[in-house]
Symmetry: D2
Subunit: 476 residues, 4 copies
């Protein structure tokens, strides 16, 4: 396991995924989680639970929460029309009949919709969590109740984590032939522990930066004996995870934690990449007075042409109401700058790592930390000045806001398509390498797309993925 | 008490205030309330509680929650700089020395900042809640702990409500000489029960539409024997409560309840008044495709010139992802239109009353209601179609979002200024009538204002109210 | 004539109208004027011209330009659908049959559409210009060619001006019974010179601030013996002339004179009233970095909530690329500030008078003026610094941009409706006073409006005015 | 010359450049051209002209226009601060001392600023026009007056065109060692006619798509014996020529031709690439109601997420006020759709070629064309319906609007930097190939950039290019 630390999450910004080595230290707290922190301290591994169909091939916190989890899944379905369309349409063809998919992802309502879609398309699935904190217990219960073997709960230990993965893979009379992974831990486990299973897998679909990095390493070392699909770098995922998603989550994250009014607030955004662009667009639109720091001249020029003042952080820091980092660099906000902030200034991070704000420097004896709400700390200077630090400098959009279902829907649909493609690909189309989904659709389908009325949003989503699907299937 | 029903809340849209007769039937649920619903069923009236200073002149849910409430107050102070500035500056002068204020408002962290400012300015205060559901118990505890006699808790009965008011007014050795009211219930009680106290009051400050309406009625009937200040119709309050506030709360309310992604969503907003304008601006900015229904030709023309399609609801209803009402009219969204909505359509109300959407028509046997989250109902048609109804058609921004502290700060500062003005006004300036705060400041102060650097937001807020204050005091 | 100077154009900002006493000193130059400045120096009064129908009852620059003028009128008709709709619809009824209208307005393509509509509705018209510079000679020719007696050319002398008015009014066998005026000069002439005609007039429709002011003076003095309609203060006119019109003309005016790129430019807008709001919205949208100066606290607060920095002019003046005044005050931009501007700074005025920028202070010996284009002067400091002054500080939108036809269409339609209303009003409805057009339409018509599909812009414009018309007619 | 037709301007959209074979048929008309069309019909080649310094080594329309041209150049300098900065700074070093540059570009005020900068940096220049219509005669005169041998006038014949080029290259006692070309005609002429000169050239800088294409062809054929710099594909040029430039020129082009009001207009934009994005942003911001047609699903999804309705052209065509093409495809607007447009609909093209609108189909006997203004035609249907066609379907932004000086400044600075780099590059750095300017600056300079205050726009422009320059020079 030691070797995992070799794989840094280089640009894992929005991937939602962490390898166990990282996530074991960081807590993951979703504002969307409605999971009760009940007093039941018994480990799920020590409980004997049976669903209403008599099956006990699962391990969740509390199977009795299934009904509440079902509600959450139904809510999620409302905004995942692409997946539902795929489900309805491909249901007849059962393009995944015969697929035995072992999956390792965040266990949320949105993932549940994906899993149930895969089942509807003919697949058999076994599932586990890719993060020890992120599981929505009720959703896991709901999945288990319908017969999907799920092994996951919120607050697993590291030992639990690997035990769950193993229970997914190592089951009698069932051998996985497809892997859907987020972070690469499942892939690694199968590769190391069950090499014979690994060799017979038809394909791997991987979503995260870390996982993709691991796959490329394997491939480079000549050890990747199955084709893999890199979903992380698909156009739609990149645009949605950054620009469109952050445009909304910056507002949501700030609002839920601080109830701040945006109008008239002086905000500095550090970094004008896709994440910074999303943040700035939203804040400007709601009446905040936004300025930018940027070291890349092209991005700085874009900020300028988009109507933002490009400034040096140290020159404006005294007047700012909100400071947001989105650079991917370290120590963008230094202790010296924190010292000069005005009383009540809010500091948060939308960028890659939790080191953009030098939080460590704040853990010194002369400063008092006061936890005023979940994810909200007041750092109090000797003179009484308070700085409001959100999520201890970790990713605001993961810690304090929900990722919109629609965004997850885009990724989930892409994963489903990748699975269908890999499972049905004729011998020889995919070698033992890492592939990207084709970004452009076939000529024929584009024309179809054009000739349909796509002003209706519902149909738009449908057609978009339907034709992508068709273009994939058309190649068979 | 029967006579209260005579006073309809004509346009009480954003006033946060309800007379008891209305609020006794409607529930008030704030997303910002962090009050635990602990199992303690004992009525506060039956408890004997003492604060750490030995006082028991209060009645709250649990005095032990004071520390948590203090945190909430401190958070609120961060975004109420105008009030804090006022507190700091006028502290030396004690312009409210001698004032004995009895208050009846929502008991929230923001009100607490107001009350403590009044105290800092020299006033003695006794306080009660204007709504039986809206009290933040911890905040009430924090106030009681610092020695303010507070009589309020979440979930009062109607009897409790009047008991609390009476305990505020009717106390030995202390007679109120100022009234700060929100809804007119306190004023009514003093007027009816303690006419001798009423006559000696120096002034009444009233925030709500309902309360103002009552005052005008009294005045018209020649029974108003004290001057009153109508805070509700001040320019700042109107602009903030409608345009600026709704611009943010529509996003917040939708996000907290449904996690919807705004980008690409088809939204119809019914009504293009100030509330509608706020909603449309925000949604358009975040990438929603917004169209408008409007019957007033001037407003329709404005919508048109602002780049929105003006449509008939029935013509677009089938394609909409979200339907929002902000008209102030009844049955803007009819059952027939609800029948024609697509699966997953979200319906909510930002307008005045809970009758804009014909919710009553949905309570019929062929439809199934499913409560999926707090404030979120799925209405299920026989064919499985679901419509997502938020807050049962009540005000989304009151039910499912928080009112930004900054907005409340504007109103609270105005209330404080009105109290100072009325308390210090020389004999004869104010007759027995209802007054508005002067909307414009004196010439002299305007010039000062101009000659200061107001680019810094913090100072801006300060100067704005400081000069308003000065202009009021200058008239003395 | 001396007495005209008594009537200051108090707020004539966007009225396009000047009394002769003012316009005799200011030049009026329209970027839209395609009038050739041919070498023909002969005064039109000395020419004998006959149109192709044999009539010589007109006096224009050159009747041969009629065909070119007809093109301009046809272009204008494209964007005046409300008027065309009115023309088509009311053509059958001839609601102006019997009306003998004498008019005095700017003679432009848009006015021509109005005049020809009045004729189509049954009126007889005689027309003259309200400004000695603004006449489009070709359009005057086109009107004369179709038989409308027009007396106007570009570059009239003051004597010509009054001669033209007199020729309109004083004609054998024809006596005006309606007056359409812009500036009040025609009304004044008729009142003074032809009191017997004045007494028999059925109504006066006046567009300009100055003219309305004169009417109110007459009315106050008890000398107004006919009903008059104040078109200037109608809601639509105010909104369109300021907010919507300036939103476009600031861009147009800057572009045509300087070819400046807006993106990334530092702009300061002085004043955040309706004009300032329009300018800021447009410039911000195109990527300019906009800040505001404002002395009114309410407007300053609005600027702040709309996301603009509120600053002191002297603090930012050094960095600005563009300075725009829209205050209505004097010397908003002082010589000292002009001295501190950077090389190449553009200065212009969108506000009321040409004294917002202290242009007079620039006419001093140490500065060199260089006219680089029409309406563009470089003021050169001894050290070589150049400041770019547009339109010599006069109104940019009148001097260097065109007023969109659609805006003029709104006003023209209102004028037509006012004429119809006054001409058809039953005895006694209108006294000898100044009236506003009813701002709201009748209940009945509003419902009709609501029940029509107005998403189509063309129909929208039609219905809007049609129903206004109906509501007026319905009162008959 | 026949071979020129082999090089199609594949994506020459915004390049301003045409090879002679193309431009010989298309007219080029710039709204910014203030060139008089005086009656002087004498060919400049037949005139004997001498500037005030006694030189006659030039050939322009009228040397006496020099002073007016100087004004235009001075205006242009105001918005080309990057170039001026470069001029000032590098003046001491004379990095182009010894360079003998022969240039072939549009002869405009902006080019003149470039040429005079090159001269200030030490270069000797001879110049000619790359388009037979685009020369600003006064500017050419101003350049000739200061001693730059210029051979260009507006309205050259094709023979004149090549004669001018030859006069530039073929002069006694002077041999070019650098080529700055726009379109490749000059390069081609030197390559064909003066191979010995060509071989000794140190470098070619080429701006246009066509020219770059030709260079790559030469390189592929092994005939390119000198290094060449492809300026066309630099990041700044692409972003500015498309997104930022079109955002402004769509408004400018529509306004100058039609005086249309944007607010409330129904607009359909065909294509949501960079050009379409620019157009949509601007029109939406000014209150137009914009919808999109798009066949690429990724772009369609972006349009959707940016809040635009994605539609089929044929479904909305009846309601549109304005139709704009930006696709790069042919016959995007068909005759059938033109037939269905409403009266007064404006049709124009911002895309690549003049075939996006099927203009050819409109040249049929049943339709009447009426030229109502320069660049504006009314196409009249038998029933009287008029469609307003701008620039006969050619590029609106080239035909009816000016390219902002700032945009041209970006390109001109890049050209200057490319010349400096090529001229000073040590032996061996550049082979006989086509190069791009390095897109990123050196690490060292980036840090410098970061440590300077770049909030001031003026300095921003300076630093941006200064550091780019430094990073180039640092490599020496």
């Amino acid at each position: 396991k030691q070797e995992f630390s070799k794989y840094p999450t280089k640009a894992g910004r929005r991937s939602l995924s962490r390898s166990i080595s990282q996530s074991s230290t960081d807590s993951y707290s979703s504002a969307a989680s409605y999971t009760d922190s009940s007093d039941d301290e018994t480990s799920p591994r020590d409980k004997a639970q049976v669903n209403t169909h008599g099956s006990s091939d699962f391990c969740v916190k509390n199977i009795k929460q299934a009904e509440f989890g079902r509600r959450e899944i139904e809510i999620a379905e409302q905004d995942m029309s692409a997946l539902i369309s795929l489900r309805k349409r491909a249901q007849g063809e059962k393009p995944l009949a015969g697929a035995k998919i072992v999956g390792c992802t965040h266990i949320t309502a949105q993932t549940a919709v994906l899993i149930e879609t895969l089942v509807a398309l003919g697949a058999q699935c076994r599932w586990t969590a890719c993060n020890i904190y992120s599981t929505q217990n009720e959703v896991a219960a709901a999945l288990a109740e319908t017969g999907v073997p799920v092994f996951a709960w919120k607050g697993e230990s590291e030992d639990d984590f690997w035990w769950c993965i193993d229970r997914c893979v190592n089951t009698e009379g069932w051998q996985a032939n497809m892997i859907l992974d987020d972070g690469g831990d499942l892939t690694h486990w199968v590769y190391k522990k069950y090499p014979s299973v690994f060799k017979k897998v038809r394909g791997i679909v991987e979503e995260s930066v870390t996982g993709v990095h691991r796959l490329y390493q394997l491939s480079k070392a000549g050890k990747l004996c199955v084709p893999a699909m890199n979903v992380n770098d698909s156009v739609t995922k990149q645009k949605f995870d950054n620009l469109y998603c952050c445009r909304e989550s910056i507002l949501d994250g700030l609002k839920r934690t601080t109830d701040i009014m945006f109008g008239g607030k002086q905000v500095v955004v550090c970094g004008y990449g896709e994440v910074g662009k999303g943040c700035c667009t939203a804040l400007k639109a709601l009446g905040a007075i936004v300025c930018i720091t940027e070291i890349d001249p092209i991005c700085a020029l874009q900020a300028c042409m988009d109507g933002f003042r490009v400034v040096k952080l140290s020159e404006v820091i005294r007047q700012m109401d909100v400071v947001i980092t989105c650079t991917g660099n370290k120590n963008v906000v230094t202790r010296e700058q924190l010292d000069r902030m005005k009383n009540g200034c809010i500091v948060c991070n939308m960028g890659h790592s939790n080191t953009e704000i030098d939080v460590a420097s704040l853990r010194s004896p002369e400063l008092t930390w006061e936890r005023v709400r979940s994810q909200v700390d007041h750092i109090i200077w000797p003179d009484g000045k308070r700085v409001v630090l959100l999520a201890e400098g970790r990713l605001l959009n993961l810690s304090c806001s929900t990722v919109p279902t629609f965004v997850l829907s885009i990724t989930a649909t892409t994963q489903a398509l990748a699975l269908i493609e890999l499972f049905n690909a004729p011998e020889g189309r995919y070698k033992q390498d890492v592939y990207l989904l084709p970004k452009k659709m076939g000529k024929k389908n584009r024309l179809n797309f054009c000739s349909e009325n796509v002003c209706n949003n519902y149909f738009f989503k449908f057609f978009f993925f339907f034709f992508t699907l068709l273009s994939l299937l058309a190649n068979l």
